[in-house]
Subunit: 334 residues, 3 copies
């Protein structure tokens, strides 16, 4: 959906320096952009590519403006301006309003006429699918599920019974919502399975990445707050509550019954213990482990970055005796 730079300036709130009538057809990187394409610069890493760009316009900050060889859209938040412009140039594709004849439905379902149900979808009993929603090929929706307006299940998604999804939710392929939580009681050597009778409630504007899993609650529901963004292969245990607008990067695991605050940013490959609380506005960097509750906003970390293997081997040997070594040193110092 092409637009003039004048329009893109309005859409993004960025100040135009240059030709308001210049027509933009596509988005591209600084390096590859050609005539008729717009690019952006928000990461210092790519600043050296700016002077040589062949883009017709670049979205950038005031600082970079002086080095721009072409039309500029100057913004205090160039990445956000890029997001807005990208959404204008690449609007969501209009979905067909149709129900594929291979889809299978249970009884007592309420499917809005404007919803789209793709091939090989299986829908259980008493399911509600609201207007504008898209159920991609191969999705399985068990009994008593409720899906809000304009929500998309891309493909091969599984929603277990009684799950509730809000509006504008996007679930990427392979997502599983509402599988049983890992609830077990020990009797002598054996494990007794505990029925997982709670549900999962996914609020409006949530996005969940490919192959992520969110378990149903043991008694109460697992709750994902409005605007939460979850990357691929994230695991969320039963009865977790994730607060509004928190973002969780790939391969992170959150143990059962933990409560994560609002506006948190959780890096990739993080492990968060069960039964803890993390307050609002906490940032946890990638590969960290969170064993206990975090009671103040801030940035928290624990991952160890790599070193040369030989040095690491020696450091590990020391680490395994760290307390003992420090005690010995301290005693000699006295």
């Amino acid at each position: 959906m092409p637009a003039s730079l004048g329009e893109l300036s309005q859409i993004s709130g960025a100040r135009l320096e240059g030709d308001a009538g210049c027509i933009i057809n596509a988005l591209n990187t600084l390096k590859l952009a050609k005539d008729g394409e717009i690019s952006f610069l928000s990461n210092r890493h790519y600043a050296h590519q700016l002077p040589q760009t062949n883009a017709s316009a670049v979205i950038l900050s005031e600082d970079d403006f002086k080095n721009c060889p072409t039309n500029s859209l100057v913004s205090e938040t160039p990445y956000l301006a890029y997001a807005k412009i990208a959404n204008h140039l690449y609007p969501s594709t209009e979905l067909p309003e149709y129900i594929d004849e291979s889809a299978v439905f249970g009884s007592e379902c309420s499917i809005d006429d404007s919803a789209s149900i793709s091939a090989n979808v299986v829908v259980g009993n008493n399911v509600v699918i609201r207007s504008g929603s898209y159920i991609g090929p191969g999705c399985v929706i068990e009994d008593n599920v409720e899906i809000g307006e304009n929500t998309s299940l891309v493909a091969n998604v599984t929603l277990c019974h009684d799950v509730v999804l809000g509006k504008n939710v996007i679930l990427h392929p392979g997502v599983v919502i509402g599988a049983d939580g890992f609830g077990l009681a020990q009797e002598k050597d054996q494990w007794i399975k505990i029925p997982q009778i709670g549900s999962v409630k996914i609020s409006d504007n949530v996005e969940v990445g490919a192959n992520s899993t969110i378990d149903r609650g043991a008694i109460e529901a697992t709750i994902i707050g409005p605007g939460v963004k979850i990357d691929n292969q994230v695991q969320i245990g039963h009865n977790v509550v994730v607060g509004e607008n928190t973002a969780i990067a790939g391969c992170t695991a959150i143990g059962g019954s933990s409560v994560i605050g609002k506006r948190c940013m959780i890096g990739g490959a993080v492990a968060i213990n069960g039964h803890i609380e993390i307050v609002d506005d906490v940032i946890i960097t990638a590969m960290s482990g969170v064993a206990n509750s975090i009671k103040s906003p801030g940035v928290y970390s624990s991952g160890l970055p790599v070193t040369d293997n030989r040095i690491w081997r020696r450091n590990v040997i020391r680490f395994k005796k760290l307390d003992e070594i420090i005690k010995k040193i301290m005693s000699r110092l006295e």
Copy 2:
């Protein structure tokens, strides 16, 4: 399935203090339970909610009994008593005995009349599905698979060729059993794939969480012992053997050919090296890495919990030179 407190006392083995005729319809948390509902207290974290509960009865320990404002079911193992009562109040739903007309079968299959095969299931050749089993929507079962009695594949599960499942097995959505192990030989710069000709044998009473994967053996089978419980997004490499009644929490990875003992408890996000052995009765806490065999029962750990990011940055710099620093200190102390 409602029951009187007298019945629930019998079912759970917990001592009733109160009205044996009181009828219980549902289970709920201490905080939310209403009249006609039973709750439980087994985690100290929630003890403060006991005095205010509106539950009609609470399952709890002798220590908490004195603070209970209502009928009590007193047990030395309140969590286990809760599990038994929950299983009585919420029995598994009776499954329909039917084969959906959209299911596709190969030749020479033996499907018991009491098995249930859902919509869009694809079954290969020479497959055996025993009595009472449930194959949920979208499951794919390749050739020569054998599925024991009362086993459930919830939805979108894939069983590759020659996999054998025992009785009362539960596989949650997205589980993949019997994909090729990661077997590669190097020839100059290239990788040659090694045919994975072993199978996977899943014993009775095993449960596997959503999107977990268990690879087929290179030559012999990968073996999951009876009563093993596996959470979501767990990866088990080829030729692993997991001993009876071991429990493995979410996002844990076990490298090929490792042997895990019986009654082990492995926390979430743990990584276990290939070709090692772990004896019976080992507990590994969350986010640990197991590089070498563990030869004695006990509790083992290695995860690092988060600290404030600035402190962590300084500690990491020290850690990267830990051996060097300690050597320097030691030499000065001599």
Copy 3:
């Protein structure tokens, strides 16, 4: 597919010591091999099983030859010789050339006559599937996808729109290629989704393990080079480039826009930051975290192996104050 030892010597390049006419029907472990079966020894761990083996022949190194009680195939690279022999004894099964009647196709597709399309496959518009390819049950292929010759999608695989696969690619069950990358811009407290308009290009001879995910690029494509081997539950972010013949073990996560060199070996459960570069010929051991670019070939590590839990607790307390403790010690030493 049985063969004589003479033939297997030729196929593998290993030197035969023994009866060239001996017919081999199967492969087995040293411990379980019977008459008519061949075994191999490449891992010292199993050397003690050699003298008692009942195999008809063993593939092994010059060093082990003297201890072999039966025919020997002596090789400098016994594991590679085993791979070649296994591929001869267990050739890929011939796939049926047919299109199952339950498969659903969009318009303008080009499906080669020799391709096999299994039950409940859903194919979008404008899809190309070349000769000899196999699309297993339950796979979903969105619009504009291109699949090269002799490529296999085992089952329940999802290929999102515009994904391109080369020749001889194997995608195991549950793999998702081309889901949207995790691209978000922050506006006040909310996240704005950035359209992911790039694609994914998977080169020839790539293998991707069960439930792994490879995201589509934000603008340019995510690229997996020729001969790359990826294990189960690996997550590869948008715009990552993985170089030729690199191998990535299970549960590893690679952040967006990172560039991994050729011939790298990345262990299991590794986390690699986004926007970094790793040169060719880097080995990263299991459970490591890579925060910054790696500029020289070599072996790198950072995982911490387990110790007894009580010792670990004390070490962790010291680690959390490592910088402070070392400063204190240093100041006393001056």
